[in-house]
């Protein structure tokens, strides 16, 4: 099957990893771009993100990626995978950088773990939440196919997503709180962890994304 993936590039850092990972799991073509025409040629779209949310949002708006993403998600109905800050950018608002308005594609907040973040036994937890932590799938979803409950993925973040509608939480992690590891709604799947950096488990999820038809069942 032909799988053409577009990775939305708004100039914020390393997109090679996700592009290479997509090729590795069998994408026939990977386009890294912010040009609507080039994105339109792809049959599925990755919305990545690293760095501070204020700079990300500024770049997303300056390059018209907000409109682009809205078209891909709502007009074209293509499968979209948002990763890390890409997921956070979809929310209503983030606490990072003294508060930043985000895309409001998904209602909800992006919250800081907190300065004296502890687990249930009172043991201090480091922030950023950096390293391999587990994901407990909260729903059945085609992207979880072949991924066991409790599988470890690579996370690196200091802020976490809290969707207003808890029913869209697709998986959770535990780190002093039960956080949203992934969310799913119609043709959108978003992960807080980095599948492109999560070795076999991550590559499995990316492979699932390549053959996903964009429905949640």
């Amino acid at each position: 099957m032909n799988h053409h993936v577009a990775v939305i590039d708004y100039g914020m850092g390393n997109l090679h990893s996700v592009a290479s990972a997509m090729e590795h799991v069998g994408a026939t073509k990977v386009t890294v771009s912010h040009k609507p025409k080039e994105i339109a040629a792809a049959d599925r779209v990755v919305f990545p993100g690293v760095g501070g949310i204020r700079d990300c949002m500024e770049a997303i708006r300056r390059l018209g990626c907000d409109k682009l993403l809205d078209d891909v998600l709502n007009r074209d109905g293509k499968p979209v995978l948002a990763i890390c800050v890409g997921m956070q950018a979809l929310m209503t608002r983030s606490e990072e950088n003294e508060g930043v308005a985000c895309l409001d594609t998904v209602q909800g907040d992006v919250r800081y773990f907190g300065d004296a973040h502890c687990d249930e036994t009172g043991t201090r937890l480091k922030v950023p939440h950096m390293g391999w932590n587990t994901v407990e799938p909260a729903i059945d979803h085609p992207l979880w196919q072949g991924i066991k409950p409790g599988e470890r993925f690579y996370y690196v973040h200091s802020y976490h997503v809290v969707p207003a509608d808890q029913k869209i939480v697709a998986g959770t992690f535990e780190y002093g709180l039960t956080g949203c590891a992934a969310l799913a709604r119609e043709n959108l799947f978003a992960t807080q962890f980095h599948p492109e950096k999560s070795h076999r488990a991550g590559l499995t999820l990316l492979k699932n994304f390549l053959s996903w038809d964009g429905t949640c069942s």
Partner: protein
């Protein structure tokens, strides 16, 4: 069900080849960095660190090219350090495919570089590397100081205070190397590791001195490190990453198995 402690094989690279010295002298050749990184990726390493130990500006392109090749095949986090002096160096390494960049001497000369880099690229990709030695003056308690130039040049900077300052400036992680232990195979310098791990809220990677699997476990259980870095015990096939993980797990440490 907690965050796993990490094992990070380190590739010290000189002119495109992986090397590892004893106290940074008497270097032995252990091969091609791309091949080794791929091997570690397959073996279950949690990350790979690539330190360009003889980085000069003329060699930057070679390094970036090697990083590019590694990033194309290795789907775990990749940290690159050595010769990072400016925001443009960081940008070049991130563009080549590094996930994190480690800053050492340049942070001492210009601490604001860490602040600017964290603001520009995000704390998650800024590792501050600290090389320490225990300095004892007669009649005074021993203290740990930062050294540069492979442990030859003292700076007078106290290690714990420095780590706290770097965390405050936006470092996302501390890579702590004991220059007293590096290459000795006597185990991590646990005292300073513990002191820094307790003092900062960001993750600490212990480095320098690993000779046995027990040493790796001690870095976590006694040193309080979030990750342990080692080179020669893995490069020369004495232990596999899998054996190291199984041993650490048997000591009650949460690992990704």
């Amino acid at each position: 069900m907690a965050l796993a402690k990490r094992i990070i094989p380190c590739l010290d690279v000189d002119q495109g080849r992986v090397v590892k010295g004893v106290n940074f002298v008497g270097i032995r050749d252990a091969g091609d960095p791309v091949e080794i990184a791929r091997r570690y990726n397959e073996a279950g390493a949690d990350e790979v660190t690539f330190l360009d130990i003889t980085a000069s500006h003329e060699e930057r392109d070679t390094t970036a090219h090697t990083v590019e090749k590694i990033a194309r095949e290795v789907f775990i986090p990749l940290t690159v350090g050595g010769g990072i002096r400016a925001l443009s160096d960081i940008r070049a390494m991130l563009n080549a495919g590094a996930d994190k960049v480690s800053i050492n001497t340049a942070a001492i000369h210009d601490p604001d570089l860490v602040r600017e880099a964290a603001a520009r690229f995000g704390s998650q990709c800024i590792v501050v590397a600290i090389d320490v030695k225990c300095v004892s003056t007669q009649g005074k308690a021993p203290r740990y100081e930062l050294f540069t130039h492979g442990g030859r040049k003292p700076t007078g900077i106290e290690a714990v205070e420095w780590a706290m300052k770097m965390a405050e400036y936006g470092a996302g992680e501390i890579l702590l190397t004991s220059m007293d232990r590096d290459g000795t195979r006597d185990g991590f310098e646990l005292t300073v590791t513990r002191a820094i791990a307790d003092a900062v809220d960001i993750p600490v990677i212990a480095s320098g001195g690993v000779g046995t699997l027990q040493h790796l476990a001690e870095g976590v259980t006694q040193g309080g490190a979030d990750a342990v870095l080692a080179a020669s015990i893995f490069h020369f096939g004495e232990y596999t990453v899998g054996q190291a993980k199984a041993f650490m797990a048997s000591q009650g440490i949460t690992m990704r198995l």
